[in-house]
Symmetry: C2
Subunit: 410 residues, 2 copies
Amino acid sequence: MIGVAILGYGTVGSGVQKILSENRGHIARMVGDEVRLTHVVDIRPLSNMPPEVVVTQRYEDVLEADEVKIVVECIGGAVAAYEFTRRALESGRSVVTSNKELVSTKGDELLDIARAHSAMYLYEASVGGGIPLLRPISQCLRANHILGVDGIVNGSTNYLLTRMEREGVSFPAALGEAQRLGYAESNPAADIEGWDARRKLAILAHVSFGARLSDEALIPTTGISSLTPDDLRCARAFDGAVKLIAHARVQNDQWNGWVSPAVVDGDSPLYGVSDVFNAVVVHGDCVGDCMFYGRGAGSLPTASAVVGDVIDAAQHLNTPKQEMDFEVIPAFALDKEERANWLVRVMGADQETRKRVQEALNVEKMAELESVSGEKMTAVRTGPMTDLEADQAQARLEGLAKGSFIRFLR
Amino acid sequence: MIGVAILGYGTVGSGVQKILSENRGHIARMVGDEVRLTHVVDIRPLSNMPPEVVVTQRYEDVLEADEVKIVVECIGGAVAAYEFTRRALESGRSVVTSNKELVSTKGDELLDIARAHSAMYLYEASVGGGIPLLRPISQCLRANHILGVDGIVNGSTNYLLTRMEREGVSFPAALGEAQRLGYAESNPAADIEGWDARRKLAILAHVSFGARLSDEALIPTTGISSLTPDDLRCARAFDGAVKLIAHARVQNDQWNGWVSPAVVDGDSPLYGVSDVFNAVVVHGDCVGDCMFYGRGAGSLPTASAVVGDVIDAAQHLNTPKQEMDFEVIPAFALDKEERANWLVRVMGADQETRKRVQEALNVEKMAELESVSGEKMTAVRTGPMTDLEADQAQARLEGLAKGSFIRFLR
């Protein structure tokens, strides 16, 4: 029997308990041994737990139980979760988690500890919820050099943008509705400011091309709170849709990336990814572009990825698998030369406005359309510009286009 | 050093050679040993082969070379490929292939032989080319029961349907163009009659829920050669697109499925899958719907999946991995009760035609539109009907709707 302990019995933890219990026979056949939940650690009192499971507030009970071989960390955050993960790995137990905050801030160190103690630290569920993503990249695509990734990795913001586009509602109104429906947190900052997407991008960059997880702190990040339904309408005038994109590329043994709203063209596979769905496009040198799509959150989808990792850990208790071994760990470097087309929204469409726009911008396409409130507005797709050139152009347009420069995803 | 032999040096075989050579250092680091191409078996004379590679027409040279541990079968077909694969597995060597014909017809037997000789038979590249698909299903999603799959798994037919829809050209015209561009074979029967998609569906059903590969022969299959651009136009009138769909479901410990043109609704992730791209939606009981998308063919994409399997085989030379072990091997059973909405195209839109349509069909939606040649036509989306009921309705419409009943994918 292989014992499993769950730390933190919330949305994901309870989903893991449910799957381990309902698919017990199926899992035992794959592992060749029974995989059984033996301990749950939570500071709250828990009801409805099977009698054979030890429910405790003392983490030490897990460390003292020899039958526990795998620890599922569902605490969240990077304080107690870090402490408990480190001690479990140091005791030779494998740890499975969906905690992207801990993986992105302390993952480099925790992976080193895991290697030193012949244990595994697995976090498939930390990006894309239940979508198979990290293991396909690091295993199935390993004949490739991965050149870059582009993803929609935060379901809450994708839901907000979908509502704003389809119903023309403002950002605050869409957020209020999403909070009522449980699609956005009561404290939504990590989602809407792009921090959650930034953590996931660091993890994707790690498994794709060996980036240091802690480089997360260097990724330029812009959230979606300043977007208006008029911006989304302008994007649609050029057959595009605005998404919160997590983008990374490798160039000359360094990597760079950003998290930012961007316009996705109608012929991109990311274009149709709406509501709470997530999708990641991986660019490989042999395979070209592959996309992985599905629900990026939720109790059972996320728990299904966690249990997939538990099965993997259980199958490799005595032969922990080699972590992927990369040729270089490229450093993060801002790419100041990267050029993008930009979407610019200007209120008004009279001759004088159009003239100022023509003078200030390298106009590739221009369209006149109506705002949500019925005013005329002008939408422009510019020629390629760097971030700096876009800032300069924005200054030239002062008073006309405040805060409405959005890059097109190439 | 781990020796690799390639049997058949065509499109895929030469791609495998290229990746093994160019990514040699990267692969050696992952495997912990050098993985080197030592033999190529082909009946044609080959030029430009590195001098250290033995080029031979005698397969026995491979069996006699102790350093060859992994055989890459790129011969195609099920005759010589079967013989050579069987003998390699019996000698304890692992075999990697993209040969869906062999896997679907002889895979059950070959997997048994592999298990009996502690070897691996790997075929990730046989479905979806380079898209990670079979391993994510059998490994990452293994905490789920897979309830079904729906895929666009044949790039040639998807390309033809895209051209017919966008340009309004006939099936023969689109086929001729695709053959000139190399997107369709000179003998296109296996693609356009759906046989290639049927083989891939059998493989997907095998890894998803333990179907016998040889049940492939039982899958009802309809190709795309009778479709017209007017059918595609009618589908678009209901925000849908016609795709060649490979569909399978598990019900009551049996499985069923079909390969057939079907109308995909605009809100399905399969809707935007155009040109030569492939995509497969997997329905899991915990994860919900996941989609895997990318190029389903081509030398380097397919070879990248083959080399991924070669790396896997090389890492498990002495510890061949457990094949997934399913609870049941469900038998194939036609699902005569399955109901679908149907798209019906009727030439003409006069009062008499509409009256006959209303009498013959359970009409859910009706639209009047123009055919490619400028005639009026009537498009109908019916209420749910079984295949038998659709046949009966078609008989009632005799003379009005010949051959233009297409099911909607649910």
